[in-house]
């Protein structure tokens, strides 16, 4: 603190606001709740749900406090980034530090995740009310929330990675929640393994970064890994193929982000992940976890953009932009030809994540994250709406066997329409319009190529089209299903309405006249100025985008509402036009088959080779040794038979005894012993921590 004139954010704990010092409470609360739920016996549904929802609501309040704190600092012109770090591990002369950071990016994400999460938790109590593993579900859900919030506040790539893995684990557990369904178990495995591919690159990037800079902290008063000093070192160090170390590490980290966020070519797991319960699809595979990859890119943005001047960009951002654009277009194309209500939304998520990546790469953090936030709300809305439809139609997911639900499910229909218009980018009134338009505009000004821009425009056209198709199939036309559909209970519809409100209202934060979002994230001041619209090319762009939306909606209406199918066996309109192209799209452009034919087959060959080696080569050695021993053994046979005498009988008896004991253990007493051990440990820990804080030994 040499000069009192410069506002510095200090790591000195005493001078720091309470919320910054205790930011760790936000992720810890859901994690503790998860641990406590794990200790609850299975039938205790109410305490489990109360614990999970209560913990997340408290986290939400804390997140709002943190947000208000940053907002106040911002409006008073103070520093908007504060962090707390501590030494975690010392080995040799190197030290690994961990810590958390509170800045506009983290604050806004914290509020979004805790808010959407709370709504989805509440919705889940209705959706999962008949499931016998209700407590387990909330245990996983709370653990997920803890991990996700940990990702958001981490100021260390390592801490972020740890929480990232927790999130990946819970995603696996929740996709496979109905593990007795083989498809769910397979989907969980696929998700875990596919994201693992990305994570290995991420880990490599992390180790490389540590080797180069000696720290994994993002920000550390100038000594962090993505602050100018370290970036200069990284830029000066050349890796292979003309890349600087910064570019190479950025690409490795992006590979991790691509795995998590379902970017090409690692997107294959995300649509399959819809095997999980619908609230999980809404929370994890639409609103939050899949956005973690986007968030990661935003977090290490200084690293990604290191070396870019005005009018130029970096190698890593170029890759991000192209991958994002390809994903956006691919997802939208495939979504057109799907029949599963959740799969359509899943491909739409893949596509929208691509938009976010392009937004980050071409327009900067604020552009990408704005779409992330608005998307989180309207996609959660759409998924929960889909859940409500599935619930109302007795677990039916095929849109061909729905139709005309507008009458039976009016609230769901209204909310869903809002979500659909927001996702389509319907002009002016819906948040999706403003956030998507910002991305398309940024892509237009991208100095490298106009390719992504055109791909995004085509994607936008398709987005409006497939959403119109879905709404036409599900809510309009005539009922083609079996049985009778009904509206969902209030505990499910009220979260829908809340989300619908935000799907509309969030748009005001990012209009060109009042770009609050950009100003807040970038930390500069904000004025209301209609001149924002007068930026060259902006209004024509908006008109072009709006026209595309109207055209797509109109065509969709014409094809799927005006000439709606009468029976569930009728082929799709597009199928009649071109069965072959439709077939390609319906089979998701054969990505799974491609992986099956290449990577998996290569792997199977490798395994077969290893097995052959094992059997023929090593086995031969073992066989020759063993025959030598067998000869030896024959000499000792008389002795052996004496020794082994009775051994088999005894083994059988012991097995019988052990079986009886195991049956007894299964009656639940041994688990309750272990539960007592854990509860004893927790109580002792609580007592000691409380005593320590009361006597002032440690500050909690």
């Amino acid at each position: 603190m040499t000069s009192p004139m410069i506002p510095v954010s200090s790591s000195d704990a005493a001078s720091m606001a309470w919320i910054v010092r205790n930011l760790w409470l936000i992720p810890i609360l859901p994690m503790v709740a998860s641990g406590l739920i794990a200790l609850l016996p299975q039938p205790r549904r109410k305490p489990a749900a109360t614990l999970a929802i209560g913990a997340l609501l408290i986290s939400f309040l804390l997140a709002v406090t943190a947000f208000a704190h940053v907002l106040m600092n911002w409006s008073s012109g103070g520093p908007t980034r504060e962090m707390v770090s501590f030494d975690w591990l010392t080995f040799g002369s190197a030290t690994l530090q961990m810590g958390w950071v509170l800045d506009p990016l983290a604050a806004i994400m914290l509020v979004m995740v805790t808010f959407v999460g709370s709504l989805i938790f509440i919705y889940s109590t209705g959706y999962m009310s008949h499931d016998e593993n209700f407590t387990r579900f909330f245990c996983f859900l709370a653990l997920f929330a803890g991990g996700m919030l940990g990702v958001l506040i981490a100021n260390s790539l390592l801490l972020l990675f740890m929480c990232w893995e927790i999130v990946g684990l819970t995603s696996y557990l929740l996709i496979g929640f109905w593990y007795h369904k083989p498809s769910a178990a397979a989907a969980a495995k696929k998700a875990f393994l596919t994201t693992r591919v990305g994570d290995i690159f991420f880990l490599l990037g992390m180790v490389w970064l540590f080797a180069q800079t000696g720290t994994l902290l993002f920000y550390n008063h100038g000594a962090g890994a993505i602050e100018p000093t370290a970036l200069a070192t990284l830029l000066g160090h050349h890796a292979a193929w003309g890349l600087s170390a910064a570019g190479a590490i950025g690409l490795l980290i992006f590979a991790g982000a691509a795995g998590k966020s379902g970017q090409l070519p690692l997107h294959v797991w995300l649509p399959d992940a819809m095997e999980g319960p619908t609230p999980v699809s809404a929370l994890i595979h639409a609103a939050t976890m899949v956005a973690a990859g986007v968030y990661l890119v935003a977090r290490v943005y200084p690293l990604m953009s290191a070396g870019a001047g005005p009018g130029t960009t970096t190698a890593s951002l170029t890759v991000v932009a192209w991958v994002g654009a390809a994903t956006a277009l691919f997802g939208a194309l495939v979504a057109v030809a799907q029949f599963d209500i959740k799969r359509i939304l899943a491909y739409s998520t893949v596509s929208q994540l691509g938009y976010m990546m392009v937004g980050l790469a071409t327009g900067g953090v604020a552009v990408g994250i704005f779409h992330l936030i608005t998307h989180a709300f309207f996609k959660a809305l759409l998924f929960l709406g889909a859940g409500s439809v599935i619930h109302g139609c007795h677990e039916e997911q095929d849109i061909r066997r729905m139709g005309g639900l507008r009458a039976q499910m009016p609230i769901t229909f209204a909310a869903y329409t809002v979500g659909m218009l927001a996702l389509s980018g319907f002009p002016i009134f819906f948040s999706g319009f403003w956030s998507k338009d910002a991305i398309v505009g940024a892509a237009h000004h991208w100095p490298v190529s106009q390719g992504p821009f055109w791909m995004l425009l085509l994607g936008a056209l398709l987005t409006a089209f497939y959403m119109m198709r879905q709404v036409g199939y599900v809510f309009l036309g005539s009922w083609r299903g079996h049985g009778h559909a009904h509206e969902s209970p209030a505990v499910m519809t009220i979260p829908l309405l809340v989300l619908a409100f935000f799907a509309i209202a969030l748009g005001v934060l990012g209009t060109p006249a009042w770009p609050w979002f950009t100003a807040f994230l970038d930390g500069h001041s904000l004025v209301f100025d209609l001149a924002g619209f007068r930026e060259p090319g902006l209004v024509p762009m908006m008109l072009l985008a709006s026209t595309l939306v109207f055209v797509a909606l109109g065509v969709g209406w014409r094809l799927y509402v005006a000439q709606a199918n009468r029976a569930d066996t009728d082929p799709d309109v597009l199928q009649r036009v071109s069965p072959r192209v439709f077939g390609w799209l319906e089979s998701r452009l054969y990505f799974d088959e491609l992986y099956q034919a290449t990577i998996l087959r290569a792997y199977a060959l490798l395994a077969a080779f290893a097995a052959w080696l094992d059997r023929q080569f090593w086995g031969g050695i073992v066989a020759s040794i063993s025959s030598g021993f067998r000869a030896l053994g024959r000499c000792n046979r008389s002795m052996d038979s004496q020794w082994i005498d009775g051994g088999f009988d005894k083994g059988c008896e012991e097995l019988t005894t052990a079986g009886g004991v195991l049956a007894w253990l299964q009656a639940g007493r041994a688990p309750s012993y272990l539960r007592t051990l854990t509860i004893g440990l927790l109580i002792l820990l609580a007592v000691i921590l409380m005593a320590a804080s009361i006597t002032g030994q440690v500050k909690l």
Binding site: W643, V661, T695, Q697
Partner: protein, 479 residues
């Protein structure tokens, strides 16, 4: 001498035990296959106790101070005292178990007992987190297997499984705590940890580490709330094994607990954790023992209470209190071995260890009833038996420690109240033995060797109570 030479020198007793256990396996499986089960058991047990006594002799002849592996393993007067005690206890357990008929594999049983003893010796001598963990695991794994050794008894398997599940989980927690300690201090040596904790400021993570370490050690000494395994294991395990768990294993665990306390006490929180465990153990152990009808379970709950008293002494953490704890652990273990032997004899006759099985013991075998009285009264802390003297010594050392200024007095009062309560359930057993009429009038079948050993233990308990100076001479101040 080279490092390895030193290592070998310090590990001679352990090596002797290992060699003895292998020799027993060879003799039993190689030459005694055709012999009767009883003969095999007596040969194996005799060889085993011979091995333990050889190791003991070596220890006594080579007593001295030594440190190897940079302080990971030490030997000094207090370590030797604990090791000598452990070896005596093992020999006693083996000799008293000669006529036990729970297994058809006596060689393996005795070999495992010796391996467990090896673990105990190592536990007592280790001063490094890793060695402590490995030694404790060697001890625990041997004891898990031994608990299950009565293969035809479902109770034995149940006891072993519970012991194993509980022990495995506590060991995992403790290892987790060790890893935190390593993370905080950057070392696994106890001395270096003490220095590092004394200079570092306290953080919540340190407290977490301390409590996690307390789980593992609390499990070994059966302190509340990590005690639940004890009643079931004491009840279900074969009697000699239960005696081993209650005696040698306890001595080793308390010895290492003293060493760990020296390392962790500089951090605020360790003493407090110990005190909480001590207080709850004293209260819960004594109260739960009141309602038991099985003598083994009474001994188990009283073991929990005794662990509470000893934890109190450990928490005081002065030279005098450490010495008192070691004395307490050794004499308590000796008395418990005796008590278990009496239970085994009664059980063999009546087929049950319930209180009623003890009815009229004084008429059926006056000498046995007399030794039982000596053991139980010593456990209750009645003068002039050694149990009184060590209890007095320990409470006095707690009151003289700095702890007396804060928690000490209250805890000592609690402990004395607990001992008073404990008299009730010990007397419940003695009432059956001396007052209640016998259901069966036949004389109890006791082998002369057993009676001789029991009398020897009882006389030791009495003599040490009258001449405590002998013990003090033998166990110098812990330094």
């Amino acid at each position: 001498m080279s490092t390895y030479g030193n290592l070998l020198a310090i590990l001679w007793p352990e090596s002797i035990l290992e060699i003895a256990s292998l020799a027993i396996l060879v003799v039993d499986l190689g030459f005694m296959r055709r012999a009767s089960s009883a003969a095999r058991m007596s040969v194996a047990s005799t060889l085993g106790s011979f091995g333990a006594l050889t190791a003991l002799l070596w220890l006594l002849m080579h007593a001295g101070s030594m440190t190897v592996m940079g302080g990971a393993l030490v030997t000094n007067a207090s370590v030797v005292a604990a090791q000598v005690g452990i070896l005596i206890l093992t020999a006693l357990v083996l000799l008293l178990g000669v006529s036990a008929r729970f297994t058809r594999n006596p060689g393996e049983y005795v070999a495992l007992v010796l391996l467990a003893t090896t673990g105990m010796l190592l536990v007592a001598a280790s001063r490094d987190l890793l060695i402590i963990f490995v030694a404790l695991e060697l001890l625990s794994l041997s004891l898990y297997v031994l608990s299950a050794f009565s293969k035809h008894s479902a109770a034995s398997s149940e006891a072993a499984l519970k012991y194993y599940l509980f022990g495995g989980m506590s060991a995992a927690f403790m290892l987790f705590g060790f890893s935190y300690l390593y993370g905080i201090t950057g070392t696994t040596r106890l001395t270096a940890i003490a220095a590092s904790l004394a200079s570092a400021s306290l953080t919540p993570i340190t407290l977490v580490a301390l409590v996690l370490v307390a789980v593992g050690l609390g499990f070994k000494v059966a302190a509340v709330p990590f005690h639940i395994w004890a009643p079931d294991t004491y009840l279900g395990a074969p009697t000699p094994v239960a005696a081993l768990i209650a005696s040698g294993s306890k001595v080793a665990s308390f010895a290492v607990l003293i060493a760990v306390t020296a390392a962790l006490a500089p951090a605020w929180g360790w003493t407090e954790t110990l005190l909480w465990m001590a207080g709850t153990s004293i209260v819960l152990g004594n109260l739960a023992a009141l309602v038991q009808s099985s003598v083994r379970r009474i001994l188990a709950y009283s073991a929990i209470a005794h662990a509470g008293y000893m934890l109190l002494g450990i928490a005081a953490h002065t030279l005098a209190s450490d010495q008192a704890v070691l004395l307490y652990a050794l004499t308590y273990a000796l008395t418990t071995v005796g008590a278990f032997a009496v239970v085994a004899i009664v059980e063999r006759d009546a087929g049950s260890d319930r209180l009623d099985a003890f009815a009229g013991l004084s008429a059926r075998s006056p000498l046995l009833a007399a030794t039982l009285m000596v053991f139980l009264l010593s456990l209750a802390g009645i003068p002039p038996l050694v149990g009184f003297w060590v209890k007095f010594q320990m409470f006095a050392s707690v009151l003289r420690s700095p702890l007396a200024a804060s928690w000490g007095i209250g805890m000592v009062i609690l402990a004395i109240a607990g001992s008073a309560v404990s008299l009730y359930y010990y007397l419940q057993v003695l009432k059956r033995a001396w007052v209640a009429p016998a259901a069966v009038s036949s004389r109890l079948a006791i082998q002369p060797r057993e009676l001789l050993l029991l009398l020897l233990i009882a006389i030791t308990v009495i003599l040490l109570g009258i001449f405590p100076g002998w013990l003090l001479q033998w166990i110098p101040m812990v330094g």
